[in-house]
């Protein structure tokens, strides 16, 4: 086996090994558990860098290694890895963020009872997420897909003694299942048609045109269902804000940077399949744009710092979907890559604040800039990045997305994306000004977090500033030369679009500054003017309530009827069989007399019957010298 494959297999295996060691041996020794976990992910990080360096030499190439697993009829199932540019960039993102978040967690989770358990789960998560990234066939992808779902469940419900956390964990699990169900059906249909689970083979199959357009549309939409669930696109977005009940590092790693991006990654991985169905692409684009706008409006009114960030995440994921749906393969992945850094940074800053204040409500914060300077500055950088201000990383990726939407020629999507960018800038700086500026509330003992927490913040802010430069067109290190579908693109830069997006973001920031920084405009007055709209936004469009109504009124009525059917008809049939068996047994038991000679009689009669039957039907058998046929 080639060395590079060994590395590819090692990257996910190491965190799994760490998980195993922690669970089996070192659960009682907290620091050792943390060190094992961090060492494992650190080695994976180094190996990922090696993969990236290897891939840079030949960006167009890909390496694939398969081990046969199950061959059922014509259906082949392998376990294998694929290494191409997409894998490399995603490996880098996942291991980097995972490493930094784990280091941060040492400070954040200090003194928690489940310290070792936390690191075990995080390692298991890293294993599963990296497994998704290197999977070269859909079944393997699906297995790891479900595994990250499990880890998400475990980590959201990490503080399971809190009823909200337990409920949120269940909600996340059940809601994502809806999407995964469609995903699984999609996988099964396409694998059945193509006779393989292998992604490249499926792509070739679709290119060969042996599939009708309608069937292709159905399959692509079903596959996209998985992304809808995992990446929290409308209407399955309801789980992500509730998932903020988990520990903040978990929110940063799983519910901002990596797992929720798995949906985007999956669409990118299967991009040739998606591309072959223009209708489905349009659907992806519209759903992405709608989710982006929809979540951004909700984020305007929320009070919980983490929930604002959660809605922001939804919005940005919608952005990535919009990019992919508009054909912007590079743009979507590029935004995923930059977003992972600045969103993780935002969450970790929020964690730092929560760690100090012990509250999630932004109105109980304020004036924290003086007391927590590092947190404040890094948060500011991340907020600028997500707003898309030049020259931070968010600017480049957002610009890329806007360009690809503009090139697709759909004006409606373009303007909605611009408006979302405005809203993004506004709610991010609302958050910043309310939390960090102005007069401090009376908190006596607030101080900056320890170095183990601030160092990852600083590293991530460096990433947030500089990671966007690979988006510069026509440079040696340009992402367009590394990540592409068929041939390297040139990369464009449209001054007009860049200026527009910057001005719009600047307007958003200015507006937020006026309302919440200088308080020139009264926030309460705005609220009153908005009236009913504000109430709707505050209640998140009543989506949860609508779901509850459906479940309580319609679903429960239906299940009552099914329950009656089950209790009386199905169980009745089962009971009938049981009754018949019992009755027959009652009669037949009389033959068991306990007398040996009766039993001997049965044997003799049986033997005679056998001889008779043979005599009648196969007379040759009775001739003991008959030739054996």
């Amino acid at each position: 086996m080639d060395k590079i494959f060994l590395i590819g297999f090692l990257i996910p295996s190491l965190p799994f090994l760490a998980f195993f060691i922690i669970v089996a041996f070192t659960k009682r020794f907290k620091m050792i558990s943390a060190l094992i976990s961090i060492t494992a992910i650190f080695i994976s990080f180094i190996l990922s860098i090696m993969i990236v360096l290897f891939q840079i030499k030949n960006p167009a190439g890909y390496l694939k290694y398969d081990i046969p697993w199950l061959y059922i009829g014509n259906l082949k199932m392998n376990i294998g890895i694929i290494i191409n540019s997409l894998t490399a960039i995603m490996l880098l993102v996942v291991t980097t963020v995972s490493l930094l978040v784990q280091i941060y967690s040492i400070g954040y989770m200090k003194g928690d009872e489940g310290f070792s358990k936390f690191f075990a789960f995080i390692s298991l998560f890293s294993f599963s997420m990296l497994g998704i990234v290197i999977a070269d066939n859909l079944m393997q992808l699906y297995i790891f897909w479900e595994l990250v779902g499990l880890c998400s469940y475990l980590l959201i419900g990490f503080w399971y003694h809190k009823p909200e956390a337990a409920d949120a964990a269940k909600k996340a699990f059940v809601v994502t299942r809806f999407g995964d169900f469609g995903f699984l059906i999609g996988i099964l249909i396409i694998s059945y048609l193509a006779g393989t689970f292998d992604i490249l083979d499926i792509e070739n199959f679709i290119k060969s045109g042996n599939i009708s357009e309608k069937m292709l549309l159905l399959v692509v939409i079903l596959l996209f269902c998985g992304a809808i669930g995992k990446s929290g696109q409308f209407p399955l977005h309801v789980w992500l804000p509730d998932a903020m009940e988990g520990p903040t590092p978990v929110s940063a790693l799983i519910h901002a940077a990596t797992m929720v991006a798995a949906g985007v990654f999956m669409v990118a991985r299967l991009f040739p399949i998606f591309l072959s169905s223009p209708d489905a692409m349009l659907f992806v684009a519209y759903l992405g744009a709608f989710t982006a706008l929809f979540s951004a409006t909700i984020a305007l009114t929320q009070d919980d710092i983490k929930r604002v960030l959660a809605y922001s995440t939804l919005s940005q994921l919608g952005y990535m979907m919009l990019a992919l749906g508009s054909g912007g393969y590079v743009a979507g992945m590029f935004h995923l890559y930059t977003h992972a850094f600045f969103k993780a940074l935002l969450f970790l800053c929020a964690g730092s604040v929560i760690h100090a204040i012990h509250s999630n409500n932004i109105w109980q914060m304020g004036g924290l800039h003086k007391k927590m300077p590092i947190t404040s500055i890094t948060f500011f950088i991340a907020a600028l990045a997500i707003s898309g201000i030049y020259p931070l990383s968010g600017f480049f990726s957002k610009d890329e997305i806007l360009l690809s939407v503009l090139h697709s020629g759909n004006k409606l999507l373009y303007y909605s994306a611009l408006f979302t960018a405005f809203l993004t800038a506004f709610y991010m700086f609302r958050l910043y000004f309310v939390t960090f500026s102005g007069q401090g509330k009376e908190h006596a003992h607030i101080h900056e977090s320890p170095a183990v927490m601030t160092v990852p913040l600083i590293i991530l802010s460096v990433f947030s500033i500089f990671s966007g430069f690979i988006g510069l067109p026509d440079k040696e290190f340009s992402i367009h030369k590394f990540l592409f579908l068929d041939h390297p693109e040139k990369g464009h830069f449209d001054f007009k679009v860049a200026m527009t997006s910057n001005i719009i973001a600047g307007l958003g920031i200015l507006f937020a500054y006026l309302v919440y920084g200088l308080k020139v405009v009264n926030a309460d007055m705005l609220r009153k003017k908005a009236g009913i709209i504000y109430t709707i936004l505050k209640n998140k469009y009543y989506i949860d309530e609508i779901y509850l109504f459906f479940i309580r009124k319609i679903y429960y009525t239906l299940t009552e009827a099914i329950k009656w059917f089950d209790r009386h008809i199905v169980d009745g049939a089962v009971n009938l069989v049981a009754f018949l068996c019992r009755w027959a047994g009652g009669k037949l038991k009389l033959t068991i007399t306990g007398k040996v000679q009766n039993y001997a009689m049965y044997i003799v009669i049986g033997v005679i019957i056998v001889i008779l039957v043979l005599y009648v039907y196969q007379p040759d058998v009775m001739n003991i010298f008959a030739e054996v046929k």
């Binding site: 009389l590 068991i592 007399t593 306990g594 007398k595 040996v596 000679q597």
Partner: protein, 102 residues
């Protein structure tokens, strides 16, 4: 002239008389004795086949010796069990030993 068929038919008759005894005798000792009849029917068969079909090899007779050995061991153990049952129940009628029924 004495043929194989004579011996086979004799052994069949003896065998089924033994079966009849096993099926009908109440006395457990009677059952054991009927079993000896069955063994003897088999022995006659064995020796007759050995003599008529493979006269050079006398494996049939060797087998008969082993059957006699096993039959002896069987009857010893059977009689011992009957004796033990007789000690505890004062009866050795097979159709009265029916504790293991429904």
């Amino acid at each position: 002239m004495l043929t194989l068929l004579h011996f086979i038919i004799l052994s069949i008759v003896l065998f089924f008389i033994g079966i009849f005894g096993v099926l009908t005798r109440r006395n457990a000792i009677g059952i054991l004795m009927s079993l000896e009849l069955i063994f003897n029917a088999v022995n006659i068969n064995m020796v007759a086949f050995s003599k008529f079909l493979t006269p050079q090899e006398i494996y049939g007779e060797i087998f008969t010796i082993f059957i006699i050995t096993v039959a002896a061991a069987e009857s010893v153990l059977g009689l011992a069990i009957i004796l033990a049952i007789y000690r505890s129940r004062q009866k050795i009628y097979a159709d009265e030993m029916n504790i293991m029924k429904w």
